[in-house]
Structure formats: structure tokens, C-alpha cells
């Protein structure tokens, strides 16, 4: 179980190689990457500023990851979440889960993302042509937690 909160970018291929290096027991790996979209509705987005709560962020992510590991038989899990100003097209978040069979890896990756959306202390501000705007939380993100 690994959690990293960082300003710098990550490389999906390198992260998966590091996770599987020297082992042959893993049967399934799922990765989810979240990226900065260049549009919010019909408004262009140039930069997304990600603010977070150092200390609480790591704790919240570790709690979500531990909960996923308690619910599913995972052989490895990784969460990387970036902060700071991120241009359109940049990576924001990476979730990787590994299990002997695919179902646990699929389900746990979705679980982690659903909780990360509304339980990890990050706030997004989109900057486009008309200045900056804080992104509102979506009711659908809160609703997504009910299915677990």
C-alpha cells in the first residue's frame, strides 16, 4: 500500500513496472488516471489549480486505501495525487490496484476513486478566459458512495 501526494508528474508505465518488479504472483492490474480536461461545460480551461490540506490529505488517502485492502484481496495498491497548478492535459491522479483475479482489482480501483472524489481534502480551481472559478462538488459524487 503506497500513497504519494506530490507536485511533480508521474509515469504510469514506470509505476506499474516498479509495482510488479521481482514478483510473478499478480494476475490482474487495473490503473485509473485522471487528467485535466481543457473544457468545463462550454468554457475553456487553461490551468487547474489543486489545493490540498497537507497532513490530512495523506491520512485520508491512506484510510481509503486501507479500506479497499480490507474489502478486497489485493496484492498491491498505489495512489498518487498531484497538487499545484496543472495545465490542461496534465495528469492529476493515478490509482493502481493488483489482485490474483480481475474483479477485485476492477472494483477496488473504482471504490478508491469514488471515495477520493469527496473524502480527500483537495479543491480544484479552473482558470480560463474569464479568470478563476472554484469547482463545485457534485451530488453525483456523493451519491456514488452509496453503492459501496
Amino acid at each position: 500500500m503506497v500513497v504519494r501526494v506530490q507536485a511533480k508528474d508521474f509515469d504510469l508505465g514506470k509505476e506499474i513496472s516498479a509495482l510488479t518488479a521481482g514478483r510473478s504472483d499478480i494476475g490482474a492490474i487495473i490503473s485509473f488516471s485522471g487528467l485535466v480536461r481543457d473544457m468545463a461545460g462550454d468554457q475553456p480551461v487553461f490551468v487547474m489549480e489543486l489545493e490540498h490540506y497537507p497532513g490530512m490529505t495523506e491520512k485520508a488517502l491512506e484510510k481509503i486505501e486501507a479500506e479497499a485492502n480490507a474489502r478486497w484481496e489485493l496484492q498491491a495498491s498505489l495512489i498518487i495525487h498531484r497538487y499545484g497548478p496543472l495545465p490542461a492535459g496534465a495528469n492529476i491522479v493515478l490509482v493502481v490496484t493488483a489482485s490474483p483475479h480481475r474483479q477485485a482489482a476492477f472494483e477496488s480501483a473504482e471504490f478508491i476513486m469514488d471515495f477520493l472524489k469527496s473524502r480527500a481534502p483537495f479543491w480544484k480551481k479552473e482558470t480560463g478566459e474569464t479568470g478563476g472559478k472554484w469547482v463545485d462538488a457534485r451530488d453525483t459524487d456523493e451519491d456514488a458512495l452509496n453503492k459501496w
Binding site: 490540506y53 490530512m56 472524489k117 480527500a120 483537495f122 472554484w134 462538488a137
Partner: protein, 81 residues
């Protein structure tokens, strides 16, 4: 105790954190005290339905007690991922 503000609460109040001397018993009491300080606080805390609170880095509700607490943070609903 240390009081932290994030996202638009930080912008409205104008500072990311401050040391607050208070005898407030609960988070709600602290919010009431802060509101009385200045207009910028009253504005930031005008709609508490839009504000979340963490006490010592755990999410709590407004009637959470403050005895022994070192850090209180106010922020809008989170938008991670």
C-alpha cells in the same frame, strides 16, 4: 488553537491560517465568534451548509467539541480525483 482556511474560504478571509485564542466549547461557537470579528469572516461563514469542518484532521459536524483540540480547518466540499 490553529485555525486553517482552504479554497474560497481562504480567499474570502484573506489568510491561510491563524492562531486563535478562544474558549468556544464547540465548532459552532467558534464560528459564531469568528463571524463577529469582521465582515470578511461573516461573509465567509454566511452559509454553513457550504462549509465543511475538520478537527485535528478528521471531518466532524458543527456541534463537535473543541476541548483539547489543536487544529480546526474550514473548507468547501472536497473535489479530489
Amino acid at each position: 488553537m490553529q485555525v486553517l482556511y482552504f479554497a474560497w474560504l481562504r480567499e474570502r478571509i484573506g489568510i491561510p491560517k491563524e492562531q486563535v485564542e478562544t474558549s468556544a466549547a464547540t465548532v459552532a461557537d467558534l464560528v459564531a465568534e469568528l463571524r463577529l470579528r469582521e465582515e470578511r469572516y461573516a461573509l465567509a461563514f454566511s452559509d454553513m451548509a457550504a462549509v465543511k469542518v475538520a478537527v485535528d484532521q478528521e471531518i466532524v459536524d458543527l456541534n463537535a467539541p473543541l476541548a483539547g483540540v489543536r487544529e480546526v480547518a474550514f473548507f468547501p466540499p472536497m473535489t479530489g480525483g
